[in-house]
């Protein structure tokens, strides 16, 4: 079941026609049908609130026989500490977050380094929709239709050298826009948020650089304008609002590991047999599927993606490399 929100206002009703047409051209060039966020300032907040549809193909290889978590739940229950530690905070505090212009700086052991406009990074690829399970380390889960491009394709285009063993990702650090990064204790995390993958994980076909969900431009609270989606790892590995990609030689620091090293490892693969020190990971609550008065469902090894990723960890003690 795919819920599509009808656009409350047609863009043409609000935006001046000349601008609107120019916008269509730009969007066609970018391979995006509609992305109001591409022209900041010109569009009123209510346009941004309306649906911004993306053009994409449905990747038939990544479908699930499980019901989707409703759009409303996916976009109002978020862990995005940059906008506050409450689950409802990001939807409230990220409404004015500026997602265009947006650049990503590529550094380290790669041939193509420098600062690139996000649209230029996305442009050479066609957007695809993939339906993935999302398992949070807090033992709840969702099923989300993401729209994005395979991370592996982007990594390959940046031509990492043989020295690049890991890829590090960095979230925007801007306390003025991200209230959670300032203030007392800063939610208990160090900013900016950093995450990382081993090179072979980054080159696996599963990870997505997502720019949308439910066929629409990624809502700010879900990590706009671009986030990682690594479906076999706990949700916090899927870093949001990425501004930097670094190709490095040794295992990069990661935010939750810095905050509580014995609770959150670098790998953080979904694993029902390795508990969080404070709670069990054996089962999970699937949100929005009407299972309120029902037992939790068992958590699957690698969140059900073992066939695609188990080989990456062959011979590794997953209790040690949690």
């Amino acid at each position: 079941m795919i819920i599509k929100r009808a656009s409350e206002f047609k863009s043409s009703e609000i935006t001046d026609k000349a601008v609107y047409l120019k916008r269509r051209e730009f969007l066609k060039a970018a391979g995006i049908v509609s992305a109001g966020a591409a022209i900041p300032g010109l569009l009123a907040a209510r346009v941004e609130a309306a649906a911004q549809k993306l053009q994409y193909i449905k990747n038939k290889k990544y479908l699930l026989d499980e019901s989707l978590t409703p759009y409303q739940d996916v976009t109002t229950y978020n862990n995005f500490y940059e906008f506050g530690t409450g689950k409802a905070d990001p939807a409230r505090n990220a409404t004015h977050f500026k997602t265009r212009p947006w650049t990503i700086t590529v550094e380290g052991h790669a041939r193509k380094t420098g600062t690139f406009d996000l649209d230029d990074i996305i442009k050479p690829h066609s957007l695809e929709e993939r339906i993935y399970r999302l398992r949070c380390v807090e033992a709840w889960s969702m099923v989300i239709p993401w729209v994005g491009i395979p991370l592996a394709d982007v990594v390959k285009r940046l031509q990492p050298t043989s020295k690049a063993k890991y890829v590090q990702f960095v979230t925007l650090h801007d306390p003025k826009q991200m209230p959670g990064q300032g203030g007392f204790l800063g939610g208990g995390l160090q900013w900016p948020y950093v995450e990382g993958l081993r090179m072979d994980e980054a080159l696996n076909p599963l990870p997505l650089l997502a720019v949308g969900l439910y066929g629409e431009v990624l809502p700010n609270q879900n990590g706009a304008p671009v986030r990682l989606v690594v479906p076999w790892k706990y949700g916090f590995k899927s870093i949001k609002s990425i501004v930097k990609i670094r190709f490095v030689e040794s295992q990069p620091p990661t935010t939750w590991n810095l905050a509580a090293p014995h609770e959150y490892g670098f790998y953080s693969n979904v694993n029902p047999e390795v508990d969080h020190p404070r709670w069990s990971q054996a089962r999970e609550r699937r949100l929005g599927d009407g299972s309120f008065f029902a037992p939790k469902r068992p958590t699957l090894m690698f969140n059900g993606y073992g066939e695609q990723v188990a080989h990456l960890y062959r011979g590794m003690d997953l209790k040690k490399y949690y």
């Binding site: 204790l185 404070r278 609550r285």
Partner: protein
């Protein structure tokens, strides 16, 4: 209000009783209207948990407030406040056993034994039971005031365990549990004999 009449006191008690049920009514209303976030079980657990701590803190503030204000009748509200802490604790525990664990008792026992935050939370709940059972006037008489008072000092342990339970379950944002900790420490410090005497002296002067 230095000394309310007995009629006024009844009115105060009825008002307090109804006010103490507002958080529950609010929770039920939010539930019926689907406003309990996409994770209602978590929302119910957190909100009932918050109100256990709120009522524990209110219960513990009766004595210092009475000393500072000289309103000795406040003592007559303490039992109700304490029983409401127990009431919300029952709801909290039921939510955990039923909605969260779905009566998977082997899992529950594993949780209680293995997870320190659940161990202290469960212990606090168990300790509340004898306090609730001995809250009646006849039980005070049967136990004798001195033994009753001794038993009811358990509330200090319960409150400390309650705050620890909260502190140990959050992922990284410890601001709220810390706030409860500060309130609790203040309420406990006010009971230190030398400080207690100074307050009493202040009130007499």
């Amino acid at each position: 209000m230095a000394q309310p009449t007995s009629r006024q006191l009844v009115l105060i008690k009825v008002t307090l009783f109804l006010a103490a049920l507002v958080p529950l009514a609010w929770l039920v209303l939010d539930g019926v209207q689907g406003r309990l976030s996409p994770n209602p079980v978590e929302a119910i657990t957190h909100r009932t948990g918050d109100w256990i701590l709120n009522f524990l803190m209110l219960t513990l503030s009766v004595t210092p407030l009475r000393k500072i204000s000289g309103w000795h009748w406040l003592l007559r509200l303490r039992r109700m406040l304490g029983l409401f802490a127990f009431f919300y604790a029952c709801l909290h525990f039921t939510t955990y056993i039923w909605l969260d664990q779905f009566f998977a008792m082997s899992e529950v026992w594993k949780d209680i034994a293995k997870r320190p935050y659940i161990t202290v939370g469960f212990s606090a709940f168990v300790m509340l039971i004898p306090l609730a059972l001995t809250s009646t006037n006849s039980m005070v008489k049967r136990l004798g005031a001195q033994r009753w008072r001794k038993l009811h000092r358990l509330v200090y342990v319960i409150a400390v365990f309650g705050v620890l339970h909260y502190l140990w379950l959050v992922k990284s944002d410890i601001r709220l549990p810390l706030a409860y900790g500060v309130v609790l420490i203040t309420l406990l410090v006010l009971r230190v004999p030398s400080i207690n005497q100074r307050i009493t002296g202040l009130q007499r002067a």
